[in-house]
Symmetry: C2
Subunit: 166 residues, 2 copies
């Protein structure tokens, strides 16, 4: 989607979508998106609308190129996703997960979230310019599962998670 | 140093320099540099000469701008430094350290080396465009100390270092 193209209208949220928006991960991701909105240009948008930027319906996917150099906006979207994971981890454990995302211009990358000296999430990001989820509930399901796995690791290795993290 | 400037001649290695070149970390870093030299343009250069690229004498430092956007070559140099750390860790433990370096265009960044799910090195990189060491022995001293600290952590938390690392 070029910067000159008008944003397509958001779909009408389903019951499932509205339930997804209120989960811990979704609220964390929204907080990160709004915190990054330095000029308040998203103030009028609903949480549902903001999260919807991560939804790639089959139509949206078809409109995207198969290969391509990801733009700054796309990279920022990925950064915010993992910051959202980190913030949601803080909500559950009181320790913020630190994201470290490295995207290569070839369209792939690696994302980590770290708590203390523990890598609580380690993921290869493929198809950076097509990063997204088929639906809002899939986005929330994936993020929530990643947060749960991270929290589980922290509970398993609390000593490592607390190393040098004062 | 612009790409159009001729590389300054290497200094004459001291006894100390020659000893530093044979250490585990220095050899690992040289291996990484040569592995990244896809066109063999460094084949004629000695190991000492390659490592010398990391040495910023007061004269070289004065020639660098105080602020500035780091170029691809500089970023690559930093990547290779942390890959060298990772390879040297492999030499001591049989487990390769995976580097993840994220440099921001503002001239700073964060570097991590990870073994399994253990963060064995976590460093803020400041002044990316001035990344270097006052002498070759200082470079080797710093790298060797970082490798030793990483190996110590792996010995302390072997279970975490072996998580998901098959």
């Amino acid at each position: 989607m070029s910067k000159l193209t008008r944003r397509p209208p958001d779909p009408i949220p389903t019951e499932e979508d509205l339930a997804a928006v209120t989960t811990g991960f979704a609220r964390a991701l929204v907080r990160v998106i709004r915190a990054n909105d330095r000029f308040g240009i998203l103030d009028q948008r609903t949480d549902f609308s903001l999260l919807n930027a991560y939804v790639l319906t089959p139509e949206r996917l078809r409109a995207l190129p198969v290969i391509g150099d990801p733009d700054a906006r796309q990279k920022n979207k990925i950064d915010m996703y993992y910051s959202g994971i980190g913030l949601a981890i803080d909500g559950e454990t009181g320790q913020m997960g630190q994201p470290l995302v490295r995207l290569h211009s070839e369209g792939w990358g690696r994302a980590m979230v770290v708590v203390g000296r523990l890598v609580v999430l380690d993921q290869t990001v493929r198809e950076v310019h097509r990063f997204g989820f088929p639906s809002l509930s899939k986005l929330v399901e994936k993020g929530t599962a990643q947060v749960a796995a991270a929290v589980e690791l922290i509970r398993q290795y609390p000593e490592v998670a607390h190393l040098y993290s004062d």
